[in-house]
Symmetry: C2
Subunit: 415 residues, 2 copies
């Protein structure tokens, strides 16, 4: 079954917003095993919308539209598709009541044009909207199925996940379940190489990689008759991936960031961390404190940009700075030791490096970074050579620092 | 003249990446006064690409493609369009030499398939790529002009701005010049209200607003016979905006961030700043140190998340914390005073607040933030109530803190 995504909205053609809806639907459909061959954007213009519908219906089995379901005169998607399919729009009492209920919460008056959203194509499947006033709809016409979703991502995504995905299961030969395995410290091609046959021969479950800076997410997707069977099929694949990649796997779940996992580990063990940052300028502390509840495991951080402040706040010796320089293993070690001792925390992480674009030399090029971990019975520095812009060097440094904390807690760092 | 954007790449149809290229081009074309009626995404498949080209060329005067210009067998845009237009691709010696020169920098070996990028459609206009190996191309065929740009945004954007925009001026009835006015601390609707007629009646120059968190960018665009005239037309409009919005205007230029302007002001005056952060957890220091050269005006930052560390590192009195709490005007004032005195910097900025989602009370709700500025002859705290998620509260706090530093340096803060 082939799909086409048709995004409706002049704001997209003016470039006022980026089309994240098309990306979300493309990704979800491909995970569900469906092909998307084209996506199109068209403005709030009935003639051009009708022409785009004709083109799409002529080449796809199903068309998913986003946008144009709202209350204003510009919102024309439902009306245009209904006309295209030769059906009328009629008031749906249940949808009308849901609009009234939604407005009654704040005792708000209902603008008359809002009721237009409850006029639904005759014979359609109505998709309830729990996050807004505009219901979605599915029209199964002879040659093409039209699935209409609202434009705001906060309404579109849950409607797709909760109502459209189960609907689409009839066109698939079973139910589908996915799990994301999150990997740090390996590039996409390295993961591919290490997993070899497991990935290349993956059919059901499939394994699809998504790369982010310093990270790879592997999405395992299984198709089966029942949810239980699909979930059972995911387990051995996850286990094989974990067997091959070992401690490079830091977590599971789509929105589970590295800082999330680190804060979770710290809280589980009742440990407090302290940061001493030079080239990252506060980015590591900032990432940790993004996580609600991080105050339990983070008391303070030092951003020591100048040599003087490395001496004064962290007790780095002047002699060390003079002999080895600010960007050196020795300075990194003294920074982490000083941060640990001054703060009374359980784990100190310190970073010093050359983020660029200036400041590099042949001996110490841009991208050279030392990260040190210090606890009462562990003290070590690690050397990195990161590629890329100032932002990239800082980002990678902060992620590797977080990953070293994670691996220390898991017992994976050797003295 | 109407345009269509055709993005080529299977990774877009799989939803692996979001199509920011289409947004950028849509925005730039609409600023230049051209209409975009459709944008389409198609995969790396020659049949479907050809079909999409036929559709696009049938309804637009010009088609801009992104992607598919690289060295691999999957990269087919140039070959497919050349075939569509009935021209051959031939080796372009200058483009070939540019590829050799690019690889020679790191003494890297040139993979044979890279030369394919120098095979250009006969008679085309070649668009040099200063940021990658794949040149772009323009083919002016009878009914439609095809403009081919590379897929990576870091190559596509400068190629459009530097080479395609000047080329497009011939199709406009004059030249076009824009200027961005950057505004902090006013919402889009407030800017609209304050500027009133100036915005609503804007025709040439036009004024278009773009909202970001805490910020608004006003893009003024003028059309004239010559560059000089267009630039002259921008000036009085910019002046009127500055007259009305006063010190809310913090800078000009599309990529000129608030932290950029703050670092510029600090360096101009030879001032050093220090940060003392609680709820932002390092975000202010991180933003300042994003800017190359910030080491001249930033020596250190304190992230004091716990009360104990506010006392120990910044000298906040235990009595102050007990009596007024960590989130109070009194604590903010002592934090900034302590940071100034301990560091020897010229300007200290301190923030303390409740970022949420937990930790709020009726008296001190989530979003309550105090920001204090301290210098040798200025000492004041400002109270804010920010709406939104934890991330939003932290982001807004950091931006208002930066803006207070900016306004202090400009002499706009009253004691």
């Amino acid at each position: 079954m082939t799909f086409e995504i048709l995004s409706v909205g002049t704001e997209l053609l003016l470039g006022s917003i980026v089309n994240t809806n098309a990306q979300y639907l493309s990704r979800r459909l491909s995970e569900l095993g469906f092909n998307v061959y084209y996506t199109t954007v068209v403005g709030d213009n009935p003639h051009r919308l009708k022409s785009a519908l004709e083109t799409a219906a002529g080449r796809a089995d199903a068309v998913i539209t986003t946008g144009g379901l709202g209350p204003t005169v510009d919102d024309l998607t439902k009306e245009t598709i209904a006309e295209f399919c030769g059906v009328k729009c009629v008031m749906d009492e249940e949808s009308r009541q849901r609009i009234i209920d939604r407005f009654s919460v704040g005792n708000r008056e209902i603008p008359e044009n809002n009721y237009k959203q409850a006029e639904m194509p005759e014979g359609c499947i109505i998709l309830k909207n729990d996050n807004g006033t505009a219901p979605g709809a599915i029209i199964e016409s002879e040659n093409c199925t039209f699935i209409m979703l609202p434009g705001p991502p906060s309404e579109m995504k849950p409607m797709f996940d909760d109502l459209v995905e189960p609907y689409l299961e009839q066109f698939s030969d079973g139910v589908i379940r996915s799990k994301s395995i999150r990997i740090f410290g390996l590039g996409e091609s390295k993961v591919d190489e290490m997993l070899g046959d497991l990935m290349n021969s993956s059919h059901n479950p499939t394994i699809a990689p998504y790369a982010k800076p310093g990270q790879v997410e592997l999405r395992i997707t299984a198709k089966a008759d029942t949810v239980e069977k699909a979930k059972e099929m995911l387990k051995p694949v996850e286990q094989k991936i974990r067997d091959v990649l070992g401690d490079k796997v830091y977590g599971t779940g789509m929105d589970n960031s590295l800082e999330n996992v680190v804060v979770e580990h710290l809280r589980e063990k009742g440990l407090v961390t302290v940061t001493a940052e030079s080239c990252t300028g506060g980015l590591i502390a900032e990432k940790i404190t993004r996580i609600p509840g991080s105050s339990e495991c983070f008391e303070c951080g030092y951003v020591t940009y100048s040599n003087e402040k490395k001496e004064k706040l962290l007790g780095v010796k002047k002699d060390t700075l003079d002999r080895y320089g600010a960007v050196s293993e020795e300075t990194a070690l003294e920074m982490s030791r000083g941060a640990l001792e001054n703060s009374g925390a359980d784990i100190a992480v310190a970073v010093t490096g050359i983020a660029g674009p200036g400041g590099g030399s042949e001996e110490k090029p841009v991208g050279l970074v030392y990260i040190s971990i210090c606890t009462k019975d562990f003290h070590k520095a690690y050397k990195f050579n990161f590629a890329g812009s100032r932002d990239m060097v800082r980002e990678r440094t902060s992620l590797y620092a977080l990953d070293l904390i994670r691996r220390y807690i898991k017992g994976d760092l050797k003295g």
